[in-house]
């Protein structure tokens, strides 16, 4: 574990450095408070610190205050080293944000024991962050495919559309639906069906750029947004994704399964100021057209004036597909 030692007095610094190295710490040693604060405030800076109280440039409590100002970084456990033993001094030190203090000259065993306390607290923080991140992941991702879930991908789409309108750029919205997925489940079983969904998700992610979004929209439906997409190439990119899905069967535990996907495509620039829900309705209509055209193809959502017929479809008709 890395530790920062800040002490302007060379003998103290040398003694601390050697004691900490012997205890297995990776040591960074500095001679004043400003350098200490700079090291500790680095994003990947040490998370344990031994700070002399009285130092040039910035004293130990001053370093603690600087470090505690940062709210979005990992916790730094700081111990003040001091010859001050008066109660008011100790209170002032701890109120500056120090976690502990140790009177100089220090006993090596006591120092190491106190640092182990600090390491336990940092470990606890790490585990809490890990648990929080796990919960955040579960709340935002689909459990089977690890893609963004429906709520998140719609939110991301909304933000992207706002940005695209502001910058006069185009977002391509692709709604894909695995063809004959019910048959896959019926023929190969639900376990194999899940494997197909996972592999489809992997193929979708691998076929887009890092700043595009892919989410699981419903059972076998996936929503892809191609951000900042040149409208002239929107259809070609959608076709490429479709081919990536269908280019080879998915190897499942129940055997090799041929897959294909039908896509509705919408280029946001052609649609003006419409809500996410309205746009999704349009792209869903295009997806329905792709299904009706024999599946395993991409259909572009035509501009509003040209799709009056399609818009007359009832919601039941639009959503009931195989």
């Amino acid at each position: 574990m890395r530790i920062l030692i800040a002490d302007d007095e060379l003998m103290s610094r040398r003694l601390l450095e050697k004691t900490m190295q012997r205890a297995g710490y990776e040591v960074t040693a500095v001679a004043n408070g400003q350098l200490a604060a700079a090291e500790l405030c680095k994003p990947e800076g040490p998370r344990l610190a031994l700070l002399d109280w009285i130092m040039p440039e910035l004293d130990g409590p001053g370093v603690c205050r600087e470090v505690r100002k940062r709210k979005d970084h990992s916790y730094v456990y700081m111990i003040l080293l001091t010859s001050k033993e008066k109660k008011e001094d100790v209170v002032a030190g701890l109120e500056s944000g120090a976690d502990d203090y140790l009177t100089k000259p220090f006993d090596p065993e006591e120092l190491k024991a106190r640092l182990r306390t600090g390491a336990r607290i940092l470990d606890l923080e790490d585990r809490l962050i890990e648990a929080r991140e796990e919960m955040r992941f579960q709340a935002t991702h689909d459990a089977l495919t690890s893609l963004w879930n429906r709520g998140v991908v719609m939110e991301l789409l909304g933000r992207e559309l706002t940005r695209a309108r502001r910058e006069n750029k185009c977002t391509a919205i692709l709604l894909g639906d695995l063809d004959h997925f019910k048959n896959i489940n019926d023929t190969y079983g639900h376990l194999a069906g899940d494997e197909v969904l996972k592999e489809t998700a992997r193929r979708l992610v691998s076929s887009v750029r890092s700043y595009d979004f892919v989410g699981r929209f419903g059972g076998e439906e996936f929503l892809v947004t191609l951000n900042n997409c040149d409208p002239a190439f929107g259809f070609a990119r959608a076709e490429k994704i479709r081919k990536t899905i269908a280019e080879r069967p998915v190897e499942t535990s129940a055997g090799s399964v041929s897959v294909s996907m039908s896509f509705g495509l919408l280029l946001s620039q052609e649609w003006g100021y419409m809500s996410v829900v309205e746009l999704l309705h349009e792209v869903d209509t295009a997806l329905y057209a792709a299904k009706a055209a024999g599946r395993n193809c991409v259909k572009l959502a035509a501009a509003r004036a040209q799709v009056d017929g399609a818009r007359e479809l009832t919601p039941e008709t639009v959503w009931r597909r195989q």
Binding site: E9, M11, L15, P108
Partner: protein, 117 residues
């Protein structure tokens, strides 16, 4: 024979029986202490209470690390006088510390040869 001003048992314990580190500390002390002592002397002679407190504090840290308890206590008194601005007692207190400091330096020089790496 003058009494030993450094508690070598304590120093060895503090360095976890690392004789090389102990020698390092003695070397640093031998190089730094005279300069710090001179800075304290100048602060005392100019009756600059702030600097007396500051320099005495630094020396106290060095001496504590060296397990030189008597010298550390003598310079701690000077630090206290500096903080309370008792300038009239600076010279008397410094003279007392100076005697201890000179003997301490002599003992450090003598012990350097005795501490093998």
């Amino acid at each position: 024979m003058a009494k030993n001003l450094i508690d070598f048992d304590e120093l060895l314990e503090r360095t976890e029986n690392d004789k090389e580190l102990m020698r390092d500390l003695l070397t640093i002390f031998r190089e730094e202490f005279p300069q710090r002592l001179q800075a304290l002397r100048e602060a005392v002679e100019s009756l600059n209470a702030t600097n007396v407190a500051m320099e005495a504090h630094a020396l106290k840290g060095m001496l504590s690390n060296l397990a030189a308890v008597e010298a550390a206590a003598a310079v701690a008194e000077l630090e206290r006088l500096g903080r309370t601005n008792e300038t009239s007692r600076f010279l008397e207190s410094f003279s007392h510390f100076d005697v201890i400091a000179k003997e301490l330096l002599r003992q450090v020089e003598a012990s350097m040869a005795g501490v093998s790496g």
